[in-house]
């Protein structure tokens, strides 16, 4: 695990060229994917709701997103009088840039099984199929998702209007709350992989379906991650941020034209990125059977398919699940997901320790169960007491 | 020009000074808190620079602790700001001069 072999022996023009090419490709891919994602979502939802959906622009309405984009581009850029001029302009870019940057560390191809280390050869240079592989790739992802909060928050604040502000505060509170669960689910994977590099994580999952962390981490982290990711993305059923009934349109109420488009773009980019991350973390990334020839081709295909599956899941959620209430959202995050993933993290660590030090497994797991029982009962009692106090307070008012 | 450790130290020191000066000239507790963060960051930078020069990981470990301290401080500091304003609705802190130093 020594980072991208591309930069191992000095950096020359070719290396730089390759890097630039990778950036361009990834960016284009993401843009195009976003366009289709928008179409995909609208189409899918309309199917699920027994309607037709976009069908005028292009075949099956495929160019609908493009048309929307053009429309956005030519609309007048409005800025409310109360808005903070600088921040108002800055916010959409933060959203968009972080969305794209996150994608940079996701390995989208490369064969990992059987001795190969996930490299492909371009112009005679070995390189990874990802824009960058920093040694702390996963942390980079988390960092970017932390930064993404700013876009939402600042947009809401800078609009100088009430509803966007409430929407943005909600959004950021939600994002921060779920970031904890998200991070800990990631930590489980990191513990199992023994590395923070996304490339390393994928490599650690190579060698068959059972090596995927989905399985070896015991599904729980994945579920937590999925829920947390949905919340992090402000996707339904966690889209309180833009709950039209309460908040008009959420943090981007006051935005129009290209700036609104940027938010829109960022949101869908994030969905794709998050799907890609889930694939990377739990589904072995580009892993999959290589049928014939072109070893670099099949992994990418598998990767795309897996991402697509997740995109479907997100849309499916949107179409089927009712939106949560704000207190339900917070309760779910703090009182269920975090304790659960915390426990799971400890359990996984214990399991690894037991394996390493050959502890007696009866004693080990016995102790774990006892600790769990005590912890869970204490937590329950405390939560109940808290609820009771809250109820009393309400009655007093 | 080669970038020696000294330059990092100078940058760290500058951040520290700017933060310290800011803390003294600004009257807004929120900004003061941010200035404290600046100072801590100046220190962090020095730690990392030393860590690299010394070839010792300890400096980086320390930065990690400083982050935690900064977080704890900010939580409490912001809690204080909220507590001060929350309990006197409608007043600005200009009125808070019962304890003029």
């Amino acid at each position: 695990m020594t980072g991208d072999p591309l930069y191992l022996d000095g950096v020359d023009l070719v290396d730089i060229g390759i890097t630039i090419a990778k950036v361009v490709v990834a960016f284009t891919f993401l843009l195009v994917a976003t366009m289709f994602m928008v179409w995909f979502e609208r189409k899918l939802i309309s199917d699920m709701q027994n309607r037709i959906g976009p069908n005028v622009a292009g075949p099956w309405g495929l160019l609908q997103t493009f048309a929307d984009g053009v429309k956005f581009f030519f609309k007048e850029d409005l800025r409310p009088e109360n808005a903070d001029p600088l921040v108002f302009r800055l916010a959409p870019y933060i959203s968009a840039v972080t969305a794209f940057l996150s994608f940079a560390v996701v390995p989208i191809g490369g064969s990992f099984g059987g001795g190969s280390s996930g490299t492909v050869t371009i112009f005679g240079r070995e390189t990874y199929l990802q824009v960058a592989d920093p040694p702390i790739g996963i942390l980079f992802l988390l960092a970017m998702s932390s930064i993404a909060v700013y876009g939402v928050m600042l947009a809401g604040w800078a609009s100088g209007s009430k509803y966007p502000l409430i929407g943005s505060v909600r959004a950021s509170a939600q994002a921060i709350s779920y970031e904890a669960a998200l991070g800990m689910a990631t930590v489980v994977v990191v513990v199992l992989a023994g590395t923070l590099s996304t490339h390393g994580i994928v490599a650690a999952q190579s060698g068959g379906f059972t090596r995927w962390f989905l399985v070896s981490s015991g599904i729980v982290p994945f579920i937590v991650f999925l829920i947390a990711a949905t919340a992090e993305l402000n996707r339904p059923p966690f889209d309180l941020v833009e709950a039209e009934q309460e908040l008009v349109g959420g943090f981007h109420t006051e935005y129009s034209s290209i700036r609104f488009a940027l938010f829109f773009l960022a949101e869908f980019m994030n969905v794709i990125t998050m799907s890609a991350i889930m694939v990377t973390l739990f589904f072995g990334g580009p892993a999959g059977p290589i049928f014939f020839g072109m070893t670099w081709f099949w992994p990418t295909i598998w990767f795309l398919l897996k991402v697509l599956a997740f995109l479907f899941v997100f849309v499916w959620f949107r179409a089927t699940l009712p939106r949560l209430r704000y207190d339900q959202l917070m309760n779910l995050g703090w009182k269920l997901l975090i304790p659960l993933i915390l426990f799971w993290l400890m359990f996984i660590s214990l399991k690894e320790l037991r394996a390493t030090y050959n502890w007696n497994w009866v004693v080990t797991y016995g102790a774990a169960v006892v600790a769990l029982a005590i912890g869970a009962s204490l937590l329950t009692m405390a939560l109940r007491a808290g609820d009771r106090a809250y109820q009393e307070e309400l009655e007093e008012v | 020009m080669e970038i020696t450790t000294g330059w990092y130290l100078v940058l760290g020191a500058l951040l520290f000074v700017i933060g310290g000066t800011g803390l003294l000239i600004r009257r807004n507790p929120l900004v003061m808190l941010m200035c404290v963060e600046l100072m801590l960051n100046g220190v962090n930078l020095s730690f990392v620079a030393f860590s690299r020069t010394l070839g010792d990981i300890g400096g980086q470990t320390v930065v990690f602790f400083v982050l935690v301290v900064a977080a704890a401080e900010v939580v409490v500091g912001l809690g204080l700001v909220v507590a001060i304003l929350r309990r006197q609705p409608g007043s600005t802190a200009d009125d808070l001069s019962a304890l003029k130093g």
């Binding site: 009771r388 | 310290g20 507790p29 404290v36 801590l40 220190v43 010394l54 704890a72 500091g77 304890l99």
Partner: protein, 496 residues
Amino acid sequence: MSGLPHLAFAGPSIDWWALLPQMILLGAALLILLLSALAPQRTSSGLATVITLFAAVTAYIVALGLWSDVKTEGPSATVASALGVDGFSIFFTILILVALAATALLAHNYLDREDIDPPEFHALLLCSAAGAIVMASANDLIVMFLGLEALSIALYVMIAMHARRPEARESAMKYFVLGAFSSAFLLYGIALTYGSTGSTNLVHVRDYLDAVVFRDQHLLMAAMALLLVGFSFKVAAAPFHFWAPDVYQGAPSPVTGWMASIAKAAGFAALLRVFFAAFASHDADWAPVVAVLAFLTLLVGAVMAILQTDVKRMLAFSSISHAGYVLVAVQSASANGTSAALFYLFTYTFMVLGSFAIIGAMGVDGEHPLDRYAGLGRSRPVLAMAFTILLLAQAGVPLTSGFVGKFQVIAAAVEGRGYLLASVAMLSAVIGAFMYLRIVMAMYVVDDGVEGPSPTVHWTVSIVLIGVVGFTLLIGIVPQFLIEFAEDAVPVLIRG
């Protein structure tokens, strides 16, 4: 995949006994929080007080055990040399625990009276005590820093907990901002120490400084200066004292007592350990600076104290001037000086706790004008006498512990040829005495017909008062054992 990769790793050996006092305190804090979370309704302060006291006593017993261990087996360091197990640390541990028990008792009734949440308060008190112990025992600058932060942050909250009084929150804010400011200085000092010696561990620092002669030592000088500034803030030494009066005045009285005693003592503990232990070989560089600080602190404290009209503020300034005395002892950079500083801190803790206990009982509405004490000697002679003894002890009148403390400080200064400083210290004692006499005078000298105030003194406060006054007089008359204790605490420190 079985097992963690690269797990060939052994953690440092840990002397759990040495950690036990801190662990007991933390455990008690968590227990209090847990019980309060599970309790069906808001509990009164009884249970929390009992748990705190129990924890203090248990930890005290453990500390005594550690003391005898250290006496037989000599000092040691544990957890990768992060924590010193030596007379010095146990001395302060014992001091902190005693003050903890006293503060818990003082707070007991106060919390109910002032409508402050007892469980959180006691939990924070325990946490800050743990932080103080860590600070005093720390053998590593970072551990020391973290202990300091634990102590300080808990204090910020404890000060602000007073729900009814905006002054409390404002003074907490003030303390917070300046505390954070000073922490940054301290940390910068730590960074430069690390840079110039290659380690944050005090043993390594000392060994390195002993072994190496610097070609130029600007970095080390800067490090010492910054550390000194940081510590000066923490112990409220002039010219970094300006936060103290406001904060002391605004804080709830039990917290003020805790702050003036333990926050100060822990600050000095850290200062002594860093400068006397780690920077011992460079004492020619730092001792004069400390002497200047001591000089300023003594004068500022004494002179400003006599200008005040609020009793709590008076004692705040007097507390500054007491820091000056300890600095006088510190600047002598000798074993005797250190033992004098330890003795002084130990005895001062009792005086100041008792004083603020009385102030807390007197100031029901948060106001402490001197007039309020008029005639206390007539209406509550015992209380007035207790206060008088504590005040005279702070003034350094013989047959109280304060005198023995001052005597040792002077002795240490004189031994180090600091005649001028010693004289200044004594003169500032006289200036300070004026302030104490004003309070005494207010209590005793009243015109006929003036009915003195009759504050209600809860029995827990009485217990503390009996204890501190008794201790103050006892040490004033037979100080030998405490002097020996302080002397045993000196040589200390750090083995590799």
